[in-house]
């Protein structure tokens, strides 16, 4: 992948007021990123226990050292079909609103340190991914990374909401 514009050599500089860090990962051919502060850990894919009668992107739950964590297939969440999982797939465990959940992605790519001013708004385009899922676009070299809004991705899995919207 393309190198990020600003490669900070020191961790201290990386988290000053103007810059934020993101974990970028690949789903299919596309590059996405989420705020590093939400990421708790990254682990290899293991078989989940399937919860009955759930949305197809909900892959089931796994045991994370005694905690039951639900795992979601991001590709399927973007309506690009179910991921055919292999042991080289990666689960990113994130914390959203006091809950832990796992995102199944194809591979984790990088940690990006981005100047906040460089984050572009999402243009209104026709695409399979719901615009509400997107928080912004980060240009990285010639390419771009789509910044995801974790809150919106799983907004319908809030504590008081058991209706599942497609």
């Amino acid at each position: 992948m393309a190198e990020p514009q600003d490669l900070s050599s020191t961790g201290l500089d990386a988290t000053t007021a103007q810059t934020r860090q993101f974990v970028s990962f690949r789903v299919g051919d596309d590059e996405f990123a989420i705020d590093i502060m939400a990421v708790r850990e990254i682990k290899g894919w293991t078989e989940t226990t399937v919860l009955p009668n759930q949305q197809d992107y909900m892959l089931g739950v796994l045991n994370l050292r005694g905690t039951i964590v639900p795992i979601f297939d991001l590709r399927c969440r973007f309506r690009l079909g179910l991921t055919t999982t292999t042991s080289s797939h990666v689960v990113i465990i994130v914390a959203i609103g006091g809950r832990l959940l796992g995102l199944l992605v194809d591979a984790v790519s990088d940690i990006l340190t981005i100047n906040v001013a460089d984050i572009r708004p999402v243009p209104d385009v026709d695409q399979p991914i719901d615009n509400a899922f997107l928080a912004g676009i980060i240009p990285v070299g010639d390419s771009m990374v789509v910044l995801l809004s974790l809150e919106n991705l799983f907004a319908n899995h809030g504590p008081a909401n058991d209706a599942v919207a497609a």
């Binding site: 009955p52 009668n53 739950v61 045991n63 639900p70 909401n161």
Partner: protein, 688 residues
């Protein structure tokens, strides 16, 4: 009292402890008050109530809750009068005591929330207390002048007491300070104090934490010996104390008599005797400590993890190739035993007698009986039966509701009862007992039982059941649990606020329990709650369905069997039933409800697990095979995900995989819903 000079953190901590204590004291007070109401003139209870109020007062004073202190003082004064036998425990006083306890508890609540009570808060009750205080002491017109601050009932003449007070060495270690006691004595009258230095050790042997001094005091006061003893109430098991009346002034016999007659008053009036023994009522709290529930929860969780880890290890060992080492086998068995024992010990920490919930009920019965004009007696049994603290908290609501219902709807009014040849006084029995890993709670009344015709008519009217449906008597009784159902013919003050037995059932189901009802027309109604002892572990049966493993709660399972071809019947319209011992039981395929592929579809090839539901009806669950029963640690799915219909929780199996615990009560509903919405859900793919 001066404000203690602590940091704000410490103060907050002390305050928290104070309110924790208040909660306990209030529970005790409530219970004792119940006993008092039931048996009257129980001096032991009066003493206990007095101590509770007094302890709260002392703490409240330290934190500057003046309104609370003021009220407690008046409350205490009346109680003191009662236990000294100077006031009579009649109906009016009892009612006032109950009302005072309410105000007292409300004031504590307000203080806890840091709110100032309104000026006239509980004024009517306080006035009533004062009226009682005044009313019952016609001897003293002066008492009226001091009114609310009337300390003790002042006997006529001043007496001289000789008080010898020798603290035990460890007095200071229990945070007692003789100086305060002596100061308080001084408020009773004229005091002269002689210090006794004879027990002072040499300088080398001196330990600053020990109490060495003793005092001999002479008190000229018009108080009773009990009032003096009360000053030393909190140290009386940590000192030698003699209270002797010097024969300078003659005592009127009617003044000393009640004190002698009160057996629980620690100090006999005149007889000089050292008080070395603790009063019986204090023994309960001696050997216990107060622990933050959070810490216990963490401990419970950790032990849960340990149990899982141990199971995983044992399984891996059994599956490994070199598992023929007898020493290792023995070691694993030993470890398993220890783990199980440790888990039981830890679970036992949270176990508490159901008494804390039961003790609120006599009061409730009295109140509701009063309001409805019914004569009802409550009999309780098994209050000492222990159950997990988290369960106890959840029991209060359902029990309150059922008992209120029993008084309001269950028990008939006196005239009807007499006409039916029953005694005018209705009886409600509340009992608890252990049954395996469950607790059984019965709420039973000897009232009229359900009026089945009316129940059915009402259910039809409310559209709960279609008209013309044939229901058995038991099925009609079950309608009481239907949502939005209330049996009261008229909405009364007591019930009919839109909360029905459906809420009780929901609460109980949420606890993993079930509720059953049996009603005999004319004889009464009996509700039975079957509730697990703890919410943290469950005895489960691990079943296999296709590639998946599920846990069925063992308590609901009656048996499992492989049906013969002739036992299975198909009902037109899609239903499937199995005939067992002449009974037709509906079959539900777990695989179909949960959308598991590659499971056994033919019950005659798999197994049927016969289940009893909370309403007493039976259900056959079709699974592939039984993998064995085990105790599982219940994990919440809801921590990180939404509730899943049909699944009550999850656990972690020996291999580290998550297994889902089936909510069997939901299965039928889920099955019917799935059947209606056809196959919208994604079938579970086979996973190796």
């Amino acid at each position: 009292m001066s404000t203690p000079t602590f940091g704000s953190d410490e103060l907050a901590q002390f305050r928290r402890t104070f309110f924790e204590e208040c909660t306990e004291l209030l529970a005790d007070l409530e219970e004792r008050l119940g006993a008092l109401v039931a048996f009257s003139s129980d001096v032991e209870s009066l003493n206990a109530i007095f101590r509770a109020v007094h302890s709260v007062k002392a703490g409240a004073g330290a934190f500057g809750y003046t309104v609370l202190v003021g009220f407690a003082h008046r409350f205490e004064a009346l109680l003191d009068r009662l236990r000294d036998g100077k006031a009579e425990l009649d109906e009016r006083t009892l009612v006032s005591l109950v009302a005072a306890a309410d105000v007292f508890s409300a004031l504590i609540d307000l203080a806890r929330q840091g709110e100032m009570p309104a000026d006239d808060f509980g004024a009517d009750v306080a006035e009533e207390l004062s009226a009682l205080l005044d009313g019952e002491t016609p001897i003293h017109s002066a008492a009226k002048a001091v009114e609310s601050t009337a300390e003790e009932a002042p006997p006529a003449a001043e007496k001289t007491y000789k008080i010898v007070f020798r603290p035990n060495a460890e007095l200071f270690r229990h945070a007692n300070e003789p100086l305060y006691l002596i100061r308080e004595l001084k408020t009773l009258g004229t005091l002269t104090v002689d210090c006794d230095l004879t027990r002072l050790p040499s300088f080398e042997a001196f330990n600053v934490d020990d109490a060495y001094l003793g005092w001999t005091m002479t008190l000229h006061a018009d108080c009773s010996p009990a009032a003096i003893a009360e000053v030393f109430e909190f140290v009386d098991d940590e000192c030698e104390l003699t209270i002797e009346e010097a024969p300078t002034v003659s005592i009127k016999p009617d003044e000393s008599a009640p004190i002698v007659a009160a057996p629980a008053t620690p100090i006999p009036a005149v007889a000089p005797s050292p008080i070395g023994n603790k009063p019986e009522s204090k023994t309960g709290s001696i050997s216990s400590i107060r622990v933050d529930l959070f810490r216990v929860d963490r401990l419970v969780n950790m032990v849960g993890e340990l149990v899982i880890a141990q199971a995983m290890l044992a399984q891996q060992f059994t599956e490994s190739r070199d598992n023929d080492d007898p020493a290792a086998h023995q070691g694993f068995e030993h470890l398993a035993g220890l783990t199980r024992e440790l888990q039981e010990c830890v679970m036992a920490i949270r176990m508490q007698p159901v008494k804390s919930v039961f003790s609120r009920m006599p009061r409730l019965v009295r109140d509701v009986g009063h309001k409805t004009g019914k004569d009802v007696r409550l009999e309780m049994a098994g209050e000492q039966t222990e159950v997990d603290k988290t369960v106890i908290e959840e029991l209060a609501d359902p029990l309150t509701h059922m008992i209120r219902n029993a008084v309001d709807h269950g028990i008939e009014d006196a005239a009807t009862r007499l006409a039916a040849g029953k005694p005018a006084e209705g009886v409600i029995r509340l009992s608890a007992q252990h049954a395996g890993s469950n607790i059984l709670i019965h709420v039973e009344d000897d009232g009229a039982g359900f009026d089945r015709d009316r129940l059915l008519a009402k259910a039809i009217e409310k559209g709960i059941v279609p008209a013309g449906l044939k229901l058995s008597g038991e099925e009609i009784d079950e309608l009481i649990f239907a949502p939005g159902f209330s049996t009261a013919a008229a909405v009364t003050d007591v019930s009919g606020r839109g909360v029905g037995m459906d809420v009780v059932r929901r609460n109980v189901l949420a606890l993993g329990g079930r509720v059953q009802v049996t009603s005999t027309p004319g004889k009464g109604t009996r509700f039975t709650l079957v509730i697990p002892l703890t919410l943290a572990v469950l005895d489960g049966m691990v079943v296999a369905v296709g590639w998946e493993k599920y846990i069925l709660p063992l308590t609901s399972i009656i048996e499992s069997f492989r049906p013969g071809r002739g036992q299975i019947r198909f009902i037109p319209g899609g239903g499937e039933v199995v005939s067992i011992r002449g009974e037709f039981v509906r079959l539900i395929h777990l695989a179909r409800v949960f959308g598991v592929t590659e499971a056994i579809a033919d019950p005659c090839q798999g197994l049927v697990v016969l289940i009893e539901l909370a309403n007493g009806s039976k259900l056959g669950i079709v699974v592939d095979e039984l993998l064995g029963q085990q105790q599982v640690v219940i994990k919440s799915l809801q921590d990180n995900y939404d509730p899943v219909p049909g699944i009550s929780g999850a656990t972690i199996l020996g291999n580290g995989r998550v297994a889902l615990i089936v909510d069997i009560e939901e299965l039928t509903r889920l099955h019917d819903r799935n059947a209606r919405t056809a196959d919208t859900a994604r079938p579970i793919a086979a996973s190796a």
